[in-house]
Symmetry: C2
Amino acid sequence: MRRPGIIFDLDGTVYLGDRLIPGARETVQWLRQHDHPIVFVSNKPLQSRADYAAKLTRLDIPTRPDEVINSSLVLVRYMSREMPGAAVYPVGEPPLLEELTAAGFRISEDRDEIEVVVASFDRSFDYRKLDIAFQALRRGARFLATNADATCPVEGGEIPDAGAVIGALEGCSKREVELVVGKPSPLIVEVAIEQLGRRADECLMVGDRVETDILMGQRAGMTTALVLTGVTRREDLAGAPVRPDHVLGSITEVPRLFSSEDVTRDP
Amino acid sequence: MRRPGIIFDLDGTVYLGDRLIPGARETVQWLRQHDHPIVFVSNKPLQSRADYAAKLTRLDIPTRPDEVINSSLVLVRYMSREMPGAAVYPVGEPPLLEELTAAGFRISEDRDEIEVVVASFDRSFDYRKLDIAFQALRRGARFLATNADATCPVEGGEIPDAGAVIGALEGCSKREVELVVGKPSPLIVEVAIEQLGRRADECLMVGDRVETDILMGQRAGMTTALVLTGVTRREDLAGAPVRPDHVLGSITEVPRLFSSEDVTRDP
């Protein structure tokens, strides 16, 4: 039997900002020693997979870029398949633009030429960008998004994420975003299981958010484990729309789920 | 019997951008000579009532500032009654800020102090403004808007209006705007009929938009007349959610509605 693949959410699961969750390093090490393939997934399009891998490595979890999947990567893979070489207007930050350019897409601000508008997390969002994207949408450009998170947690609070950009564009264009590739989209699952070399039912999804991590894992047919080190508290679970298979105090409890060669579910 | 009061929408009804609709001047003159009180209403918060009056006067329709009602005026009146002197963060342009300041409101960028966030049409909207408004909303500030128009017509097309700002703030705060004072809100009707000195059922609402002008007039119990010189075409009317009492080629057909002392409805 093959060892189950593990999909780890990052912020709130493996680390909190710049601090590793206590025991995360040993847990990943144990899973790797026991031949569990691992990928790390993030909705955040502000860093490249190489940046994430470097951060994990710096935090003493040695990681290769191809072990990291973020929403901009999933978007670029989808677009490369469906609309290779298209003229794109991304409302996003430099790492997204670089990823698009590297994949052969042409960044354009010409409203008559733009074929795809990408809404993303963008701390330099302004009326000029809003207007360019709006004019392109009005002329029929496709309307995609890296992720749909309302906010992004930061030191001492949270700040507006891609949900604000999507809201602004929907509010003026009266169009709805067609596709959001980030969690809980099945597209990010597809990239993850391909990387893991496992079927979805041979995977464990571990994350701190019910409405993205757990929902996505469950929809895909994975076993799911919620950790309580991020945004979700135990008391939030009563009203949650989906129930994780396991609720863990932290990532350190993941190894005890593997008492046999298979992922065991709580009775 | 008192002569009916007339509420004219401006852009698309009286003028288009900087050009008067042919015959508008003579029509307003005829109505004034026949003792119909008149007000002009606009959702646009980019100019003060004095600016609008000056523009109409320049276009040869002599108008006093108190004959003009725009969404920022209605907002400031509402706020003066409900929350006098409050600390406000307006996402809007200088004329709105001036109107708020003149009415005794304090403009604040301190997220802990802001009591009211106002979403408006703002061509200088950016992430910094978005974040300040978001943080205030997250801490419980009231959430008002001058108008909810998706777009504003401009020479050669349209640009994102307050609908984009509302969408952005709703998208990150996960709160809904509490009150929009512009058309079709009953608050703008209230200010208009007070100015006209007429009851709502003694008024004729004339405008080019079914979903704002006509809807508002009808809800208030006014007679309504749609003009075809603006955004609505005759063929759009089949699917429209409300039916105007009259459909007119242009403002010049308004006088023929007054064959007796009363507003007559089409058979």
